[in-house]
Symmetry: C2
Subunit: 338 residues, 2 copies
DNA sequence: TGCTACTATGTTACCGGTAACATCGTTAGG
DNA sequence: CCTAACGATGTTACCGGTAACATAGTAGCA
């Protein structure tokens, strides 16, 4: 195991093996048109010198960087982090590296695009929550891109999203099935597709149950716990009547529960609460949170697969994936009394 | 704004501006030895063609990729995610991109090193929790590296860590100050420096208070909530007596509280619990968690700064940073009754 | 005025790979 | 036995930048 401090090149190996650098190139690319004897000599030289092909040079010659970038509003929200983890794992499996950047707003986003895409560093892009702001419009048309968290749209961009409408239906159904009729809805920012679609699911189930939508029972948050807290505070102050809440994510659900408890209401005895995400410690809150589980890791994996296909097979038609959700019943919901 | 589909090169610009490609190179590198008139012609051509320098080619010519990699056991633990976010932000500020990979074990880690470092893709490495397993030994000596979460060691590697010993002291002091004398300690895996150092801080404060260490009051977890739960279960089954717990991270603290409550013990009336991290929803648990806040984002920033220095100034001596912690008192601790 | 020194710009080579084509020796078929 | 075809290997050019050196023109000074 030689202690290579400085880089060995393909030509060093060639000299050492007594062949041309091209023959070495053939060996490392598994090109069979090399005789077994030569092959062995080359392999021996590679081992002796501890040679490793330089990915940058290869990328240069091939015009391919074998690198993707994933742009996320942030890296710390569990949902994003987990999608990124799935994307990274799958990328490496396919021989790609993954660069990451968080872009809280679309100006930063534009800078990142320039840094990562226009500069030729990456050959594909995964964008989480592209409709959180105007960032979806800042993506060069020429770069293969997968959107995560959007419903299918026109244009040459793949997408992966939760089955948001089904999720909205499932949560609403669960609460309706428990006898709740006044179900408040706590949405994410209404610019985002998932907020809209989850609401559509909610509405459709209410209608199917013969209930009329009550606009005063719907409020938008920003996915954070405090925004859930604030929304519930508002409802309570307005003396709006409800027996259940469907929060479109777990953090807002937690904030909502906090506000309820602070007001002396018991969860689930007085108000049932359903979240969405099944974040890691969801079962450790008081009460343990009933929620919808989404396979965020799987979403990341799926996004990368789409991107690999888009990069390696540009002619193929764009795809739009919808990932299932699953209801996890814990302690924050119960049958409506009376 | 031309709709560049295919890449414009420096020579295209040169032709368009009627100069040599080298002159274009000078302009984009802000080399002043170009006359104002020529400079303008070049800039005009760049704008007209929408030219952007290719980072790969530049990296190739310079032998520098301007890319770092961050290797973490996973991306979803808030602590890691937040460090990575800090590292990424700071990296872009200095003109570097950041690749990420999660490596749950040291075999994966070795593969990643090969993929990212040996291949020449990255010129610097940030390794989170290098002593979680044998991964610290798998890093080529030639690549500038910063360890996060280790105490300073011999060798040519920078490090950033929490002031773990001080953190252990602070938590213990807080509980001692509340009159607790039988303080249980829930550590992370003992292979990790931070577990050891936090314990050292704990011990030193107990001794300073004239209390003797009781080995039965110390158990190791794996940072997860269930491991905290299990440890407390064990203590309770063994009828071991304690009035407070210092859990070395928040998740274990949450698990511990869960076990206590399940056994009918009240937190903080019967047992006080201190965590460490101040993870996002720490204040939303029941009771709100008293904990030590660490500036994980700042740790990531600091790590990147060290790495930039190490890369750009290889001769300089290695540095070891220690980041402060801060006590956040909430509802999970109170004065020991009687 | 002639020569040096400096400024602005061009030319060539190189980074470390790969592609395309060239060459040479051997084997198979007419 | 001659030659086409093929297999193994080498040579050259190129990817898109940068460095090093070369050159031409101009200004400064004896």
């Amino acid at each position: 195991m030689p202690n290579r401090t400085q880089k060995t090149t393909i030509r060093d190996v060639a000299v050492s093996a007594g062949v041309s650098h091209q023959t070495v190139s053939r060996v490392i690319n598994n090109d069979k048109r090399v005789s077994p004897a030569t092959w062995q000599k080359v392999e021996a030289a590679i081992a002796k010198l501890g040679y490793r092909p330089n990915a940058i040079a290869r990328g240069m010659a091939l015009g391919r960087s074998h690198t993707f970038a994933c742009l996320s509003p942030n890296l710390t929200d569990y949902t994003f982090a987990s999608i990124i983890e799935g994307a990274a794992k799958e990328a490496y499996l396919h021989g790609y590296s993954l660069m990451i950047a968080s872009a809280p707003n679309d100006d930063t986003f534009t800078v990142m695009i320039d840094e990562l895409v226009t500069s030729g560093r990456t050959e594909g892009l995964i964008v989480l929550n592209p409709y959180a702001d105007g960032r979806h419009a800042r993506i060069p048309a020429s770069v293969p891109t997968v959107f995560v968290g959007t419903r299918p749209r026109e244009g040459a961009i793949d997408s992966v999203a939760l089955a948001d409408e089904a999720a909205g239906q499932l949560a609403t159904e669960h609460l309706l099935g428990l006898g709740h009729q006044r179900i408040a809805l706590l949405t994410g920012p209404m610019e985002e597709d998932c907020s809209q679609d989850r609401q559509v699911g909610y509405c459709s189930r209410l209608q199917a149950a013969g209930l009329k939508m009550d606009a005063s029972l719907v409020r938008a948050g920003d996915w954070s716990a405090p925004s859930g807290y604030t929304a519930v505070k508002h409802w309570l102050e307005q003396k709006i009547d409800f027996t259940a809440i469907f929060a479109q994510n777990d953090r807002m659900a937690i904030g909502a529960i906090h506000a309820l408890q602070e007001a002396g209401l018991r969860v689930p005895q007085d108000v049932s609460v359903v979240g969405l995400d099944d974040m890691p410690l969801a079962s450790y809150f008081d009460p343990p949170l009933t929620t919808l589980r989404q396979d965020t890791f799987g979403i990341g994996v799926a996004a990368t697969r789409l991107l690999v296909q888009a990069v390696e097979n540009p002619g193929a038609p764009r795809q739009h994936l919808s990932m299932p959700v699953e209801l996890v019943v814990r302690g924050s919901t119960q049958r409506h009394a009376e």
